[in-house]
Amino acid sequence: MLNVLNHGFRKEGVSNVVSLIMIAGIIISLLGMVFATYLPAWGKDIEVQTLNGMMDSFMDMKTGIDTLAVGSDPGSSYTTKFTLGSEGGPIFGFGRMSGSIELDDERGLVSVQDQFGTTYSQGRGALIYRSNTINVEDQFITLEAGAIIREQSQKAILKGSPNIVLRTDQDTGDLTLYMMAITIEGNDQSFSGTGSYLARTTLLSSQPSEYELDALTVISIEITTGYQSLWTDLFTEMAQENSLVDGVDYSISNGNDANGNPSVTLTLNTLDVIDIRTSIYQLEID
């Protein structure tokens, strides 16, 4: 009895309670640190890696589109894997995110015309990815008119150049427009979730054409896009690289296409040659 009681309470019990409280304190501190610091960081890392993987998939698809246009017969195809999201990490599924991918064959219209209404080439079709993230800003990745564009926080940057090049011949001084007008056909379809889908791009036709223009012909390249500022910058850079004078050799205007959608038009007053490849693809996503 002397060992058990002293002054009405049990000392062993006090020590055990103190130990338990200390252990609980340490565990709660560790958990707090994990929740406050590590889990958001892990989640952010997982989301960033998933979004980077999606961007890589878009680039791989563009590699396939370019390659098929150059060296393949109609019917040849290229398959790209798109992983829309992530199941998240093993702890509480942190970093779980989803996304959706959509083929819209009415977006990304591109048209090359002269002032008389003659159309030299046309393209259409856009592949759009929208993320649904928790720890980082949502991203939109769009493949339109051969360009890969990433939008985040309402700022768009070019991640893959379109196949539109202006080049001045050093010997003759002739200004040539090299361009690939891409049409991506397919059923308007949309997939969402965290899973992976295979996108098979099949070349239907690829036709190169070359046109020599007279001095009076004015050529307009109109692109229907939600990224007017980005395309304006791109066209400006192309013109400046060839020492073209704004208002004299070229002009760029933002407006709306025939359907009322926002568009950007590059007008070239001194173009000598159009070297254009019109490529049509079928896209199937399974």
Binding site: N16, I26, M59, D66, V70, K159
Partner: protein, 289 residues
């Protein structure tokens, strides 16, 4: 109040502290060991990914060259680093990509020799170099030289992927078929972790085919870093196809591998035909991306 100690309570406290120490030690050891394993794996996977990207670029070059398409460009990408393992916060590594069209960085010239005189058939130059900055695995340098990939680690070079050279049987001898790439345009470099979009374009090309007579020798001369790798790579290719050294081909090594004035020479003595398809390739980094 009399201060009284409880030995049983002390034991519980000591046990708790010891247990926590053991758990933390085991956890720390696990993170360190597992982190190193994961880190090395990530670094090695990344090196393999870079090699695959360079091979994809070569395939794009080959596609453009064989189609003779100087108008279209093909988008490619190279991932410069790895984000590593997000749970351990380790194995984040970066890399640097350097594009150099300069002949000092690599040059391969193909001559036709006969009776003391020689004719230059074609010459290609330039390299695309990836240098890793690994956290766990040893640093590697992977170099693209005229379609061949040279891997440099531990200061030793090996040809990890042979160039597009082919030795074919003709009716009564051998023929050699070479697809060569020379790099043109501006020098550039970039570094980081993310994928870098690269645009491959064909600026020009040439094709040379010759039927050779007895006594004519096809001489390939290599100069620049990676010469040793080319020696072993070409030797493996030739002997693998049944050619015998010092009968069908001979190798002359430079006395000083690092000298820019000396070169590695491989002479093909028993050839009946030679075919060279050469592309002038420009690899551009997207300036607006």
């Amino acid at each position: 109040m009399k201060r009284v100690s409880d030995r049983n309570g002390d034991a519980v406290m000591v046990t708790t502290v010891l247990m926590l120490s053991i758990i933390l030690s085991v956890g720390g050891k696990l993170v360190l060991d597992y982190g190193e394993i994961v880190g090395k794996e990530q670094d090695m996977l990344h090196a393999s990914d870079v090699s695959d990207s360079m091979l994809s670029m070569r395939a794009s070059m080959s596609t453009l060259l064989e189609a003779g398409d100087t108008d279209t460009s093909i988008l490619n990408r190279i991932t410069l680093g790895t984000y590593g393992n997000p749970y351990l916060g380790v194995a984040r590594s970066s890399g640097r990509l350097v594009y150099s069209p300069a002949p000092e960085d690599f040059q391969l010239s193909v001559f036709l020799e006969e009776g003391g005189s020689e004719t230059l058939l074609n010459s290609v130059s330039g390299s695309l170099v990836f240098e890793s900055n690994n956290f766990y695995y040893i640093d590697q340098v992977i170099t693209f030289q005229s379609g061949g990939l040279v891997l440099d680690e531990y200061g030793r070079c090996v040809m990890s992927e042979p160039a597009l050279f082919e030795v074919v049987r003709t009716s009564s001898g051998w023929g050699v078929d070479l697809e060569l790439f020379t790099l043109t345009g501006e020098h550039w470099s970039t570094s980081g972790i993310d994928s870098t979009p690269l645009t491959i374009g064909l600026d020009g090309y040439s094709e040379i085919s010759r039927d050779l007579s007895a006594g004519q020798v096809v001489s390939m001369r290599f100069n620049g870093p990676g010469e040793k790798a080319w020696e072993y790579g070409i030797r493996s290719l030739l002997t693998g196809n049944g050619l015998i050294e010092n009968v069908d081909f001979s190798v002359t090594r430079p006395s000083d591998w690092s000298s820019s004035s000396e070169y590695l020479e491989i002479d093909l003595t028993g050839m009946e035909t030679v075919h060279l398809l050469t592309g002038e390739m420009e690899v551009r980094i997207c300036s607006t991306c």
